[in-house]
């Protein structure tokens, strides 16, 4: 036990003295959370908008000014055809297109629901998510007003749940929008992935690169003591990171945690296992820290892209989905999102939990088989 304690003490001392590791542990997560969380949460204003007003009446202009008053839209372009609207959005000059049908006024006058189409460029999810809700709000506000006016002036009735202005929104290119709700849980998964895989691999490879492993392996320290002492500091760091992100997420970005915190931590612990196994496995193969970095890349990149963190799984081609399903991160993101956002309990997360257990067994076994207390 003294050997093990000495080793842990050494690891923590070294960790706290290495500015790069400290940056990775304490600054990176906050930076990433702020960048991604903010990019998704901030109020987006004056988005380039093209309007195709086929009705061109007092009523349609009222609607446009309702949109304008939200300050989300800058009406930079007036289009004269659907194609023009599409081209402007496709070309990136406009992010939003509003198409008012020719019969807008007449429909309203007839007491019917008038349809307005709002096209949103989903390739920029930040803008898209903000404009989407703004468009619906603007439409509803306008509709409510028209409704009130109509009711008071004519005393007639409309269908109970039909709003006179029916804003139909269509998000182009990226139908599942990201929001801070999605980002915060996803980011926990990503950051834990980075700290565990990367830093574990690094801390062992660093011993090899600097030659200190040679002096270490001739001591009576046991294999498992060495490995555990390398891992435990990063397990602690991972939980600290999780708490940090959750605190910032709830206090700053108002992301609610609807599920059980205990379950969250238990499953987080489970998710650390395959990552630590992976980090150890990499450490048995890499001779230098640079090599280790190169080896994490081919796992890091697909984990970011194919796990459902950035792009929804369903939007990926099948073979990329297949790759995504081979990553532990994919399952943990599902777990976190369900647990944090939807308040899911363990009974709904059993398949993912078992997959993670499977990954843990495979990766830790492989790592244990390959990890030798030797320079060979």
């Amino acid at each position: 036990m003294r050997r093990f304690r000495a080793m842990i003490k050494k690891e923590i001392t070294q960790m706290l003295r290495d500015p790069r590791t400290l940056f990775f542990i304490f600054i990176m997560p906050i930076l990433q959370l702020m960048l991604m969380g903010y990019a998704n949460n901030s109020d987006v204003k004056n988005i380039a908008t093209v309007v195709f007003d086929q009705s061109n009446t007092a009523e349609s202009r009222d609607l446009i000014s309702a949109f304008k008053s939200t300050e989300y839209y800058a009406f930079d372009y007036i289009a004269t055809s659907d194609t023009q609207v599409n081209n402007l959005i496709q070309g990136g000059q406009a992010k939003v297109g509003i198409i008012i049908p020719p019969d807008y006024s007449s429909q309203l006058a007839a007491g019917k629901s008038a349809q307005v189409l709002v096209l949103i460029d989903g390739s920029d999810p930040t803008i898209a998510s903000s404009t989407l809700s703004a468009a619906q709000l603007a439409g509803q506000a306008r509709g409510a007003k028209i409704l009130a006016e109509t009711l008071s002036s004519r005393g007639s009735t409309l269908g109970t749940n039909a709003s006179p202005v029916d804003v139909r929104t269509r998000v182009l290119y990226n139908p599942d929008l990201l929001g801070a709700y999605n980002i915060v849980p996803g980011l926990i998964a990503i950051i834990l992935f980075q700290t565990t895989v990367n830093l574990t691999a690094m801390s062992i490879v660093r011993e090899r690169e600097r030659g200190t492993i040679e002096q270490l392996i001739v001591t009576p320290i046991r294999n498992w003591e060495l490995v555990l002492a390398k891992i435990i500091p990063y397990i602690l760091v991972s939980f600290a990171n999780t708490i940090l992100i959750l605190v910032i997420g709830t206090l700053w970005f108002q992301v609610p945690i609807r599920g059980s915190l205990v379950l969250l931590f238990v499953l987080t612990g489970l998710y650390l296992l395959p990552n630590l196994g992976l980090g150890l496995l990499i450490s048995t193969m890499a001779k230098t820290q640079q090599q280790a970095q190169m080896m994490t890349m081919p796992i890091m990149l697909p984990s970011m892209m194919l796990s459902g963190f950035i792009f929804p799984m369903a939007s990926l081609p099948l073979f990329l989905q297949a790759v995504g399903y081979m990553l532990p991160l994919t399952y943990f993101i599902i777990i976190l999102r369900s647990l944090v956002i939807k308040g899911a309990g363990l009974e709904l997360l059993i398949p993912q939990t078992f997959v993670l257990i499977g990954f843990s067994i495979v990766l830790l076994t492989l790592a244990a088989l390959r990890f030798k207390k030797s320079l060979d």
Binding site: R2, K9, K10, T212, Q215, V218, P220, S374
Partner: protein, 313 residues
């Protein structure tokens, strides 16, 4: 512990792919003995040391250290081995004291004893005043001394030192040898590798090593006696031409540069000492001196390498 040797190997082999870095090495070291493993770069000294300390696993052959057989009992043997690697392998980001503490704790020395020993070793290595300095900020010589201190913290019976004086200035070297001599009195067995022949004189026994094999071994004095009266020292100018002339003499076996002079190995001394001055005069070269000198270990080693048909890089 029935063996008289603290360290013993039998037909030790280590291959890296096709390369036989250690190729059938047999060596024995007794308590109180300091044995030198001497050989040129790439001879396999480090590989041999790593096999002995259990950092590498032998391809074949056996090692017996303080009564423990490897590979089976390597973990039990570790407490008896003090190893100083050729390359600095302590933690540069930990202080001198933290390094010493770490190795003391990892060898599970009782706390009170450990603290006492750490302080003693710091004093012994002359590092007391640098205790709080990060190891990376020490000079090369101080790093070697710290390495030695860390290797000694658990009072091992066998000390394996891989080029302990490499990159160390002459003064620090002297101090280093003084430290080691003190240890031998305590009955430790010390195996030291070095590429420096001049250092080999200090050892009780030297093992000449090349291409992974022990060419010969013995007490330095006895080894040198093999070449008694067979080394001539020649000082003539210009040296290049003198070397060619000396080499052409039928009784000269080898000519090599030794410091500012040439060392000639001869089968007998008489013929060359008369013929060579005459030949030099004929060629118009200036002769400063030519006389027999006591052989050095380097002469012996070069002789060995040639009879083995191997080159000395």
């Amino acid at each position: 512990m029935e063996s008289e040797f603290l360290l013993e190997t039998h037909d030790l082999v280590k291959t890296f792919g096709a390369l036989r870095a250690v190729d059938g090495l047999n060596l024995q070291v007794r308590p109180g003995e300091m044995v030198g493993l001497v050989g040129p770069d790439g001879a396999g000294k480090t590989t041999a040391m790593r096999l002995l300390c259990g950092a590498l696993h032998a391809t074949s052959g056996s090692i017996r250290l303080a009564g423990y057989e490897y590979p089976g009992q390597i973990e039990q043997a570790r407490g008896e081995i003090g190893y100083l690697a050729q390359r600095f392998s302590l933690y540069g980001d930990l202080t001198v004291k933290e390094n010493l503490d770490f190795f003391g704790e990892i060898f599970e020395i009782p706390e009170k004893e450990r603290q006492q020993r750490s302080a003693d070793l710091l004093r012994f290595a002359g590092l007391s005043e640098f205790a709080e300095r990060p190891a990376a900020a020490l000079s090369g010589g101080m790093q070697k001394k710290l390495g030695l201190a860390c290797a000694l913290v658990h009072q091992p019976k066998v000390l394996l030192l891989d080029e302990p004086t490499g990159g160390v200035d002459p003064v620090a070297r002297q101090e280093f040898w003084q430290l080691l001599i003190g240890l031998l009195r305590g009955g430790s067995a010390v195996l030291v590798s070095t590429p420096y022949m001049d250092e080999a004189m200090r050892f009780n026994r030297v093992i000449f090593m090349n291409h992974g094999k022990a060419l010969t071994q013995g007490i330095p004095r006895n080894l040198m006696a093999r070449l008694a009266d067979r080394i001539l020292e020649l000082d003539a100018e210009p040296q290049m031409e003198a070397k060619a002339i000396a080499a052409s003499d039928p009784e000269v076996e080898d000519v090599h540069t030794f410091g500012n002079y040439l060392h000639l190995r001869v089968s007998t001394a008489e013929g060359p000492t008369t013929r060579i001055p005459a030949r030099l005069a004929e060629a118009g070269l200036k002769l400063n001196h030519l006389y027999p000198v006591p052989p050095t270990l380097e002469d012996v080693f070069i002789h060995l390498l040639e009879t083995e048909g191997a080159g000395y890089g």
